[in-house]
Amino acid sequence: MPHYTFLKFIWPSALAMLIFIALPIVSISIQSLFIEHEKILVTVENCTPFGCEEITKVDLEATEAQEAENPLGKYNGFGTYTNRNHLAFSELKQAWSESGGLNDFLTEVFNLPFYKALSFTLAYTFIVTPLVIIIGFFIALAVNRLPSFFKGPTIFICLLPMIITPLIGSLVLFWMIDAEGIIGSLLQIIFNDPNLSLKASPTLTWVMLFVYGVWHHAPFAFIVFYAGLQTIPRDTLESAMIDGANKWEQTRYVIIPHLMPLAVFISLIQLMDNFRVFEPIVGFNAQASATSLSWLIYNDFRSGDGDMLFGSAAATSILTIIGISVLMTPVIVRTWKANKPVIGAR
């Protein structure tokens, strides 16, 4: 296809991606170098019949004029990146010099908002992704053994946790796990502890979010592996059987190698999707014990008093993008070397 024709076909799509994906990345890298203007304060004398007092208040007009003149805020260099809410270098240094041991130091570090979010995001990504692959694989093996009459309805039910809106899916589970919901109260009976609440314990909150992640994503791995199982050549399996391979050996030496490229594909998609974990934290109302990088950005826009912290959100965004790039590089390089790009749906 000539270049000119190619351009005619691709420009709307390319333009949309340039303006709304590439440009925003440039925009946040600039934004992250600026910080909100300080409010301009004025001191006025407030006189009442009982005497006069001086009060300080925000000069709204001047503040607004200042914002209109320079909406980005004032230049702050890398100040936002290094402050307490992001990389927190000085806090780290202080914690290192003051702490008694490694444990002490880590506790200090994980109290800093950025490191708290980073640790949960990484834990979620690296615990949920392998579990999704393993559980999806076993579901695929099990469904493959079912009589064909049951396969359709089984796949139908399996798809439900995956296509459900993440926020809705986490709410549905959250309501059941609530201390007054069915699972919550059953657990109280089982452990004979009327005050047991999954929400109150940080560890249990993490476990709850991991369980949600596996529940939500396992169907994707299942479907991909199941489709892969259908393409295994009969001959190979049969010759393995003739050679005396038992079920385990067939799985280990025929099925798993055949499905390996699919596992790479699933882990690529799962790394992308799990690193942006966000909705479950809102749905499970878990921010007290677990936050993610995406949640931190969201929180900067919802900080309560109506001010959006653009600089802070932009800095976290850049750090998040650096994080996902580091995670993705090995997989993308591998894809590229194979020169056989893969991608697909979630």
Binding site: M1, T5, F6, A16, M17, T165, I324, G344
Partner: protein
């Protein structure tokens, strides 16, 4: 040998049954509970109340109640959010498929190295967490007066959807033989005429599959719609999140439960009617590579 296989069958069957229970019961439970009052759905005394509706009978005179649905749809005007979701999803699906078929077709037929680079760039774009992009939009949108409109959100969702749509349709168009449109061009068609008269009639299976996933992306989105829309323009998902803040104070969690069930129904229908396409779409990228 036989005895061993029996064990394996039992093991695999019980595994699949446990998984099916985990996958379906939360939905059934919430659907059933949405017709009860809060005192039953979150029962302090006995979890069985949620099944039999003991408090519901006392409070409303029937075992089932539509109070949650009435509260959500009429009092809290959930219909407005449902309408907005309808507008957003239909527009997003239509526009992204239009752009995506053109782009995907060009990428599949180009033959030049840069098509591969565009696909790699799209893969990297696909990896960007949506909320990092939103934090890039907000300030410019405020400055330009674009914030809060449904149309802005639609355009943003279309753009975010493009990388995935391009990949899906690209790999689908690769499965359509080149000879088909090339012979049309030998007969004197231009590239665009060949696309219109030869490719469009045979591309629907791929387009429907891709469309389903565009629909899911637009319908399920929370990060973008929550931050880019004003309260009156909200779609269903941010509206439900809003219920949680306000409803919990008023003791009206059941509004949120009813809204959640209402928003799940279209998704349920989607799987019911398009199961085959969803499965083939999920595997298209992986198996064909």
């Amino acid at each position: 040998m036989n005895k061993k296989n029996n064990w394996l069958n039992i093991l695999s069957l019980s595994f699949i049954i446990i998984w099916l229970i985990l996958a379906s019961v939360p939905f059934l439970w919430t659907l059933w509970g949405s017709f009860k009052v809060e005192a039953d759905f979150f029962s302090k005394q006995d979890w069985r109340n949620a099944i039999f509706g003991v408090r519901t009978l006392v409070e409303t005179g029937g075992v089932f109640t539509l109070n949650g649905y009435k509260g959500a749809w009429i009092q809290e005007e959930f219909w407005r959010a449902a309408l907005n979701t309808g507008i957003v999803t239909v527009s997003v699906v239509t526009i992204s498929l239009t752009l995506g078929t053109l782009g995907g077709y060009a990428l599949a037929r180009s033959g030049f190295r840069y098509a591969f680079w565009i696909l790699i760039a799209a893969l990297i774009f696909r990896a960007m967490p949506h909320i990092t992009l939103v934090s890039g939009y907000l300030l410019p949108f405020f400055e330009l007066g674009l914030w809060g409109h449904l149309s802005t959100t639609i355009v943003v969702l279309v753009a975010i959807n493009q990388p995935f749509t391009l990949w899906m349709l690209h790999s689908f168009f690769l499965t359509i033989p080149k000879d088909l449109d090339e012979s049309a061009m030998v007969d004197g068609c231009t590239r665009f005429q060949a696309f219109r008269h030869v490719i469009i009639p045979v591309m629907w299976p791929g387009v429907i599959t891709t469309g389903l996933f565009s629909f899911l992306l637009a319908y399920n989105d929370f990060a973008i719609t929550a931050l880019l829309l004003t309260e009156t323009n909200q779609t269903m998902v941010p509206k439900i999140a809003g219920f949680l803040g306000s409803a919990q104070e008023q003791g009206n969690v059941m509004f949120a439960v009813a809204a959640v069930v209402s928003a799940t129904v279209p998704l349920f229908m989607l799987v019911l009617f398009f199961q085959r396409q969803i499965v083939s779409g999920l595997t298209a990228g992986a198996v064909k590579g």
